[in-house]
Amino acid sequence: MVAGTPKLNVDSLRAWYGSEEVIHGISFDVRENEIFGIIGPAQSGKTTLLKIINRTLEFTTGSRMGGLVEMDGQDVYHIKDVYGYRRRVGMVAPLPVGLPLSIYDNVAFAPRSFGMKDGEELDGLVQKCLEQAALWDEVKDRLDSLGTKLSGGQQQRLTIARALSHQPEVLCLDEFSIAIDPVTTMKIEDVLKDLRKEMTIILVTNLVQQARRLADRTMFMLNGEVVEIGDTEPMFSGNAKQPKTNAFVSGDFG
């Protein structure tokens, strides 16, 4: 990667569901190894934005996008091997999901789909991903049990382990903490702080304080438009450039 090129570059991005435009031309970039926060009230287009980044918006009938999305300088929508691209992006959804397979099979699912054979290498990968996701100690003795029987917090960490199993370069988290307990939330926040050394992280969150704790820079989205992008700390201490940002951060609306 050429020095100076951002990891992810988004330019004049628009999105439609049917005839309704939900993202009205936004531009931003994400730098390598940073934790990039996206905050904003519900229905601002944050989830749609993530789905555009990992190219799963295509699965929704009637959806369309326009504009440019580049990773490492390469237009993401002109990459032929879509599956290969999606592997470079990890995604954690708001509601915890455990696939109805054993915990081991949950994490091994993606590598096996790409041809990895069972054996020591796969065992090692599963263990490493579960360790990185801070779940290994809790499940190491019951890797055979069903992933759907775990608690919400455990399933969310399982999702992170699954995401790590395909070695993403960018990890997207979409309000990962809304359905789990505070203790697990803290554990995952620590996990993210470690993971940033290896990858770039995009964190969509409704919790202003969470963005403050984790994000280097933050983008405030409102109704499908970007209001402001900047370093997190100044934005959240009342010194944001836009009055709307200050209002949102201090809880006046949203």
Partner: protein, 320 residues
């Protein structure tokens, strides 16, 4: 507690409530009238079939101008039909169900396909028979045969498999598929690795239903190859060639109740002279249609009960 119990009932309320009770009783009787006649009729059938009911009836070949012995060739024919039609209807039906639930977009083509499945399910059995005659017996040159009849049955029973497959697939939550797609796993691999393993049981109930329908149908096989009687000699292994005519349980029931006349005289094996049958033999012969009906009914109800029991088991053993 009902409010009207706290106050003294006025005549108006009393009338309302007693009318209410009568209605409930009436409707219950009405419902009973659905189930009861059928149960009575079936018991009557079993009663009349008693002279022939034994394991031998199913395993033995017909003897003495079909007045004695068993109906094994018919049972075997039905087995052939069921297996062959299954081999065609199951893969095509399951794949069509997968297409409709996993791949089809919400457009006019999908709507037409949905309509076609529903209409295919509503085609009268005799029209399926005509189709089989025109397409498989005549056009494809298969002649009146096991294979033509099986293909006709396959087309007829496919909608059942398609509908059960769709239901089973749609019971798998969307979130599983999305979690899989997010990891860069392809659509088909997601289906194969997550969706199908968790809907296989629902699909199986559909397949069992298909089998039961294929076993019970008469009209489609009547003009595509079912035969009233095919002679097998004692000791010979009973089997059919796919290109031959065949006997089948459902057609056998039709034939022995409509076309066949119960003989009252049999040729004496030594002299060849026609000798009147004994009372016991006559009773046996007259019970054969009833016995056939009971066997056919038993097979079909057994399959359906298995399917129902299986569905119940599934509902109580969910993986999520």
């Amino acid at each position: 507690m009902n409010d009207s119990q706290r106050f003294t009932k006025t005549t108006f309320t009393q009338k309302k409530e007693s009318r209410e009770k009568w209605v409930k009783v009436l409707l219950f009787m009405v419902t009973l009238m659905m189930a009861l006649p059928v149960i009575l009729l079936v018991s009557f059938l079993v009663h009349k079939a008693l002279p022939v009911l034994s394991l031998n009836f199913i395993t033995d070949i017909p003897r003495d101008l079909m007045s004695a012995g068993g109906i094994w060739p018919a049972v075997l024919g039905t087995i052939y039909l069921v297996v062959l039609s299954l081999l065609v209807a199951a893969p095509v039906g399951v794949m069509a169900g997968i297409y409709l639930n996993e791949y089809a977009k919400d457009n006019w083509l999908t709507r037409i396909i949905n309509l076609a499945v529903i209409n295919l399910a509503g085609v009268p059995s005799i029209v399926h028979a005509l189709f089989g005659l025109g397409a498989f017996v005549m056009f494809a040159g298969l002649g009146e045969s096991v294979i033509a009849a099986s293909l006709t049955l396959a087309v007829m029973t496919m909608p059942v498999v398609i509908t059960s497959t769709r239901e089973a697939l749609s019971a798998v939550p969307m979130s599983f598929r999305e979690a899989s797609w997010n990891m860069g796993v392809s659509r088909w691999q997601t289906i194969r690795g997550v969706v199908l393993p968790n809907s296989i049981s629902g699909i199986l109930t559909g397949v069992i239903l298909e089998v039961s329908r294929a076993a019970g149908e008469t009209a489609p096989i009547m003009i595509t190859g079912a035969a009233a009687s095919i002679t097998f000699r004692q000791g010979e292994t009973v089997y059919y060639l796919l290109g031959e005519k065949f006997m089948a349980l459902s057609y056998h029931l039709y034939y022995t109740s409509m076309g066949w006349k119960v003989p009252d005289k049999l040729p004496n094996p030594e002299t060849g002279e026609m000798v009147p049958m004994t009372q016991a033999a006559l009773e046996y012969a007259q019970a054969i249609p009833y016995g056939t009906a009971v066997v056919l009914l038993g097979v079909v109800l057994l399959f359906n009960s298995v399917s129902i029991a299986f569905r119940y088991y599934l509902r109580t053993h969910r993986k999520w």
